[in-house]
């Protein structure tokens, strides 16, 4: 229990290096989610509406990619960005940028696959009305994304949760460099193995509080959305 108190003290005292770690973690994961949303939502909408050969195979592949192991993604991005790799000239290995790329790759399939399912279900429901109203493709996509916004927000949160909680990818491509690429999860892993349990627990506490807070906010938005638009 004394470890827990020490952890609480660390959090409440506002230890600057601890907050730098929290800030970086949030920045990396939120950037990754932003990129994943910009790519994943349109791809999901397109897959929901388009009909072409190989669509089923693509959906299966996408669904399978939801379970990509973070360490494998980290390794792939590492190989791409390492000095001798194809993108080695970018020189961004062991930077926050590399961590954003890795997490975005990890999360984009999740967002695309879940968005595809959500939008396709809604499309089946709306289809006849949209056809009768002569709604064009662009307006269709926008309307479906907008009307599914509540579910899609939950999807983004699931993605954020995955990004914020993973260790493997950021550890490999970021390198867990103190003050530079150290995130909450990599710090927890390191401090635990070093035996500095209070710091690890303090970070774990913050991570959990952040995830709960974001989910709480999403719940509130969801309630509001349902009052306005209906389930």
């Amino acid at each position: 229990m004394s470890g827990f108190h020490a952890a609480l003290d660390l959090v409440l005292q506002g230890n600057p290096s601890l907050y730098a770690i929290v800030r970086l973690s949030l920045l990396v994961s939120l950037s990754a989610i932003l990129i994943a949303a910009l790519v994943g939502l349109p791809v999901g909408a397109w897959l929901a509406l388009a009909r072409f050969r190989g669509r089923s195979a693509l959906i299966v592949a996408l669904n399978a990619c939801m379970g990509l192991p973070p360490v494998v993604v980290g390794l792939s991005v590492f190989l791409l960005l390492s000095r001798s790799g194809p993108l080695g000239s970018w020189g961004i290995l062991f930077t926050a940028k590399a961590m954003v790329i890795a997490q975005a790759i990890l999360v984009t399939p999740i967002i695309a696959a879940l968005a595809r399912q959500t939008i396709e279900d809604l499309w089946l429901e709306y289809r006849a009305e949209f056809e009768a109203m002569g709604v064009g493709l662009l307006r269709r996509v926008v309307a479906l994304l907008w009307d599914a916004r509540v579910s899609l927000l939950t999807t983004l949160l699931a993605g954020f949760g995955r990004a914020a909680a993973e260790v493997g990818a950021v550890m490999i491509v970021g390198g867990n460099i103190e003050g530079y690429t150290r995130t909450m999860t990599t710090a927890i892993a390191l401090e635990t193995s070093k035996g500095d349990l209070p710091l690890a627990m303090g970070l774990g506490l913050i991570l959990i509080v952040i995830v709960i807070a974001i989910n709480g906010a999403a719940w509130g938005l969801r309630q509001l959305g349902e009052q306005r638009g209906g389930r």
Binding site: A128, A132, Q227, G229
Partner: protein, 241 residues
């Protein structure tokens, strides 16, 4: 309201066949829908009423046969509107549903607010504009669906069982809106199995059974003295296949 010179009327369906796999849904149906009082599409369940509406609306391409709207075989559905048997409300407010329909029909943004007010008044939903459409009662949803269809400023309004599962008060409200639309010059074509409703609203009848056209004619004559045995049996309340 914007109205080009051409009209979608008359709608001429000639020798329409609709087959799904080996099953024949409509079989050699020829009907002409002309301006005037509402047309009732009558017939037992499974007669092909909904399919006929989808073909006449231009939503379903017949397996064979031809449809023309005002003499054109390729008229876009700009001047036709339909209310399905189970209309789907968008996950938006009542006013939001109408705004979407107006936008989809290409109405300029500037006039939409006023148009929404007019449409809401037309279906007596003015007080519920800010309500979530999906939380409306069945009758209110049906009225909103009618307003959404009227937002397209149609020449022709197709209705598929517009008062199915509604209580008498809601039915009366819907019929008043339909009668009002017909009076304003919109050609109403409605599938119904409510014979009283067809009597109250419609000027002529298209009677289908088993996917085939059995009888057409003035409503008055049809109800007084049907020419076919099937129509007579249907009017008596017998089971007709």
């Amino acid at each position: 309201m914007m109205r080009g010179p051409a009209s979608d009327l008359p709608i001429v369906l000639s020798a329409i066949d609709v087959r799904v796999g080996a099953r024949s849904i409509l079989n050699d149906v020829s009907v002409t829908l002309t301006p005037g009082l509402p047309t009732a599409i009558l017939g037992p369940n499974g007669a092909g009423k909904s399919t006929l509406i989808r073909v006449a609306m231009g939503l379903l391409k017949p397996s064979s046969g031809a449809v023309s709207w005002g003499g054109r075989g390729d008229a876009p559905p700009d001047r036709r509107a339909v209310v399905f048997q189970r209309p789907v409300m968008l996950r938006r407010t009542v006013a939001g549903n109408l705004a979407f329909a107006l936008a989809a029909a290409g109405r300029p943004r500037a006039g939409r607010k006023a148009a929404i007010e007019r449409l809401l008044a037309r279906v007596s939903l003015s007080a519920l504009g800010d309500r979530a459409a999906r939380f409306l009662s069945g009758g209110e949803q049906q009225r909103l669906a009618l307003a959404r269809a009227l937002a397209r400023d149609p020449d022709v309004l197709f209705l598929d069982e517009p008062t199915n599962n509604l209580d008498p008060a809601a039915t009366k409200a819907v019929e008043a809106i339909v009668a009002d639309a017909a009076t304003s010059g919109i050609k109403v074509v409605m599938a119904t199995h409510d014979l009283g409703q067809a009597r109250r609203l419609c000027g002529d009848v298209v009677f289908l059974a088993g996917g085939a056209l059995v009888e057409t004619g003035a409503a008055e004559d049809f109800f007084r003295a049907p020419r076919s045995e099937k129509a007579a049996a249907f009017l008596r309340g017998d089971i007709v296949e």
